[in-house]
């Protein structure tokens, strides 16, 4: 029988939740990296036992952790007692150095409108290659995309993203100026989508050598030009691997859809009670079935009326239904963050999400019924799911 492994990053460590295909009885392992923020963990599609984790701290900075046994044990690539042939200590896995040759920009917009230098803060998202277990992308704050080809031992910036020209107009959102979403096209290895708060979405068609903003159709009231090429606060983008090129976006406000690989977007918020939110995902087997977790507003980051609900559209947007069975429908004031929703590949498609209240919920039937896997973890930052044989 198939198994699932749920990788949960929290404000105070990482947890690995495992169950068989019934997804009723769960084993909870952790906390790993106790006391540290774990922004994201994700396993390699090539070798599911290879998991990358972003361990970070306002005090001690960034650490990259790896596991080669499905999360049972962890190591920092190059962090042991070893030296390079030149005699310098290794331990480069947390060395994210911006490419100084990235032209022409050197600064981005700061909160007060002045220009501000790029400063590395943390890794928000790790996206393992679809074809090479040793290759992985990292989305970082301040926004940039890095790539490792050696199992996260060393990192190089794909600097054409920052250097393509609009960087001085990028600005941090409330959570910082983060590159939080990386989507790889399974049919075109040169196509990469990324999203930045608050700059917008970008696409590369040449493996990261060049980039173009893909924000046509997005409207943001907080911008002087609501239809600006960049500056939009994109919260997350999801794509079905079965149908690359069709993208779904949860923006600061508005749920959006693109049928042309991001060249244009149209709003599909439809009858959602609020179209603010962070998380969005696509059914594993039905590319027109999408899920969001509506949040009241940008001022009040919790569910509307204290009712925790996932909303599902089976028509690719516009027509939505509330999924509430098993979710608290009173006095619930948690948030569901952008990387905290995921789907498994089992028949029926299990869907999972974590909350800032420390709950991780599972629905084994695409959202019809929900149950908590855990109730009292630290605030959940990210949830990823691996479907294992």
């Amino acid at each position: 029988m198939s198994k699932v492994r749920v990788l949960v990053g929290t404000r105070k460590g990482a947890f690995v939740l495992t169950a068989d295909g019934k997804r009723r009885d769960w084993d909870v392992a952790g906390p790993f990296f106790a006391g540290w923020e774990v922004y994201h963990m994700k396993g390699s599609p090539v070798n599911p036992d290879r998991i990358y984790a972003s361990q970070t701290s306002g005090w001690f900075g960034q650490i990259i952790q790896c596991s080669d046994d499905g999360g049972k044990t962890w190591y920092t690539p190059g962090g042991g007692l070893q030296k390079s042939p030149q005699g310098w200590p290794m331990g480069e896995s947390n060395r994210f150095v911006y490419d100084a040759a990235a032209a022409p920009l050197t600064t981005h917009q700061w909160y007060d409108g002045t220009q501000h230098p790029w400063e590395f803060k943390r890794v928000w998202h790790l996206e393992p290659s679809l074809t090479d277990a040793e290759a992985v992308y990292a989305g970082i704050e301040d926004a940039a995309l890095f790539h490792s080809k050696d199992g996260a031992h060393s990192w190089q910036e794909l600097s054409a993203l920052r250097g393509h020209g609009t960087g001085p107009n990028w600005q941090p959102g409330a959570g910082g100026m983060c590159l939080h979403t990386i989507v790889l096209d399974p049919k075109d290895p040169d196509r990469i989508y990324i999203a930045i708060s608050a700059a917008g979405a970008f696409r590369s068609d040449d493996g990261g050598k060049s980039w173009k903003p893909i924000n046509k159709g997005l409207r943001s009231q907080f911008l002087p030009d609501q239809d600006s090429e960049v500056g939009h606060c994109v919260h997350h983008i999801a794509m079905s691997p079965r149908r690359p090129g069709v993208l779904f976006m949860q923006k600061h406000w508005d749920v959006m859809r693109s049928d042309d690989a991001g060249d244009s977007w149209r709003e599909v918020s439809g009858n959602l009670p609020t179209d603010f939110g962070f998380a969005i995902d696509v059914h594993a087997h039905e590319p027109e079935t999408i899920f969001v977790a509506p949040i009241k507003s940008d001022s009040e980051h919790y569910p509307l009326d204290g009712k925790l609900q996932v909303w599902r559209s089976r028509s690719g947007g516009n027509e939505w239904e509330a999924l509430t069975d098993g979710l608290p429908q009173a006095n619930c004031y948690v948030n569901v963050l952008r990387d905290a929703m995921a789907v498994d590949q089992l028949d029926g498609c299990g869907i999972y999400f974590g909350t800032t209240g420390g709950q991780v919920y599972v629905s084994p039937d695409a959202g019809d019924r929900w149950m908590p896997i855990v109730r009292d973890l630290p605030a959940v930052l990210s949830v990823e799911v691996q479907t294992l044989p």
């Binding site: 005090w59 001690f60 190059g78 962090g79 331990g91 947390n94 150095v97």
Partner: protein, 127 residues
Amino acid sequence: MTLRTIRVEIPHHLRTLAQVSGDLRLDLDDPITLRRTLDALEARYPVLRGTIRDQQTLVRRPFLRFFACQEDLSHDSPDNPLPDAVVEGREALLIIGAIAGGAWGPLGAPYLPAAGRCGSVNRQFAN
């Protein structure tokens, strides 16, 4: 050239990361400075690179402090000699996480009242 053994105390989370317990002991030649001590610490425990000072600029991370002999050395030149008691191994160089209470600022950074100004720190990592 005199080889000396320096004692260094690091925060709980860094001890966990480096998989060590108690004071760390580092063997250094004169002159014994903060910079050379941190160089030796990072050479011995590469996993600590970037956790105490920036990987590239080698500037101290803002929420860490260096104490020795009841003095805050955080703003001293890293090339100054460390106090004799540290050099002679009678006292440890203390690398300390600033206390932060647990409140989070609007930019996602912890509020650190007085941190960076008057050494409002605690031996225990907070939050």
